[in-house]
Every structure is written in structure tokens, then in C-alpha cells.
């Protein structure tokens, strides 16, 4: 039973306090769009982040361990591997 948490903006757009308390270690955190700029900020929510490769690359962001780079096929598979998703 894990939740996929999807973000498309830097963390300052969200309620950090709520997210830090809601997101569990078994959950997955996926960064899309401008959220890719804020890997360091999102580290508070999960020790390893999933990042959409297209969105990161087009912004000149390099993805490295412990984070994982995803393509769209992986993104689809991820929504199926988790119980449900929340697009924050």
C-alpha cells in the first residue's frame, strides 16, 4: 500500500509541514516540471526521489544517486506499481 506523490513546482508552492508529516518512507515521490529544480528541497520528503528525465534535462538538471531518472513508460508503470497517486 504505497502512495505516489507527484509534484510539478518547487517545494515553496506547497505546505511543507503537511507533506513532511503525511509522506511515509514506503511512499514514492515523483518530481516533474519545475519541481526538478528543487531536488535539494524535496529531499526532506524522501531519501530517494524519482525524476522525469525529459523535464530535468530540458532544465539543465543532472540526476544522480540516490535519485532515479524516469522516462514516460516508467512513469506509466509507476502509477500501476503504486496504490494511487496524488498530484499535489
Amino acid at each position: 500500500m504505497s502512495t505516489l506523490h507527484i509534484f510539478s513546482k518547487p517545494l515553496s508552492y506547497y505546505n511543507t509541514d503537511q507533506l513532511v508529516n503525511l509522506i511515509q518512507v514506503t511512499d514514492q515521490v515523483l518530481l516533474l516540471s519545475d519541481a526538478c529544480f528543487a531536488i535539494r528541497q524535496f529531499r526532506q520528503l524522501s531519501t530517494h526521489l524519482l525524476i522525469l528525465a525529459d523535464d530535468a534535462q530540458s532544465r539543465g538538471i543532472t540526476i544522480s544517486e540516490p535519485d532515479h531518472s524516469l522516462n514516460y513508460d516508467d512513469f506509466v508503470a509507476l502509477t500501476l506499481a503504486t496504490s494511487h497517486s496524488i498530484t499535489w
Binding site: 505546505n15 503537511q18 503525511l22
Partner: protein, 118 residues
């Protein structure tokens, strides 16, 4: 029947966010799914009593919120911490709600098949 959660996070008159969430909640009840609605952050203000937006030309959607129970929408939840943040108590609210701490919110989320933020 599946469990569906509508998650509201916007303030009462921030565009049509709360009204869109209200429509979505009512419709899932109408098609007989097990719908829950969770208010967090400034969205809890949408449950505050004594609002009369018609005085400034805005639609009074609070009347519809009061009818949720009639339409069998019984799972209305609010973030306990957000109530505190805005100085609200349950007696200040339009309808009966369950106040949840973060752990309880996490549990609620874990029970759902579909979750939508509006």
C-alpha cells in the same frame, strides 16, 4: 463501490476551487461511490459559519455545503492543525466534521482507490 477522496487546499474564494470540489464530491455520491472530502490549510475556511458572499455579488455555495448530509456525503474531514491555524473550533463550522491529525490523514489516504486534488 470504490473509495474516492477529494482533497481541498485552497481558500474559499480562490477561483472556483472549492466549488469544483463540491461538485465532484456530490457527483461521486450520486453515482454511489464511497466519497470522502478532506479540507486542509486555508480550505478549512470554506466550512466557516456566517458567510454571506451574496453581499458582494458572489454565489453562496455554503448553502449547498449544508446539504451534503442529505445527499449521503457523510465523510467530511478537516485537518486538525489547520483549524487551529485559523482559530476555528468545530462549533464554528457549518456541518459536522471529523478533525484528523496527520497520522489519521495518512490512514484516510491509504484507504482510497482514487484521490483527486481540486
Amino acid at each position: 463501490m470504490i473509495n474516492v477522496l477529494v482533497l481541498s487546499q485552497h481558500s474559499p474564494f480562490d477561483d472556483l476551487h472549492i466549488r469544483d470540489a463540491l461538485d465532484m464530491t456530490l457527483i461521486f455520491a450520486a453515482v454511489e461511490q464511497n466519497i470522502s472530502w478532506l479540507f486542509t490549510g486555508p480550505a478549512v475556511l470554506a466550512l466557516k459559519k456566517q458567510q454571506q458572499p451574496e453581499h458582494i455579488g458572489l454565489k453562496n455555495y455554503f448553502k449547498t455545503i449544508k446539504t451534503l448530509e442529505i445527499y449521503d456525503v457523510e465523510n467530511i474531514y478537516v485537518c486538525e492543525k489547520s483549524l487551529l491555524e485559523y482559530g476555528l473550533e468545530k462549533s464554528h463550522l457549518l456541518i459536522e466534521v471529523k478533525a484528523l491529525n496527520y497520522q489519521q490523514q495518512h490512514h484516510l489516504i491509504s484507504q482510497q482507490q482514487q484521490i483527486v486534488t481540486l
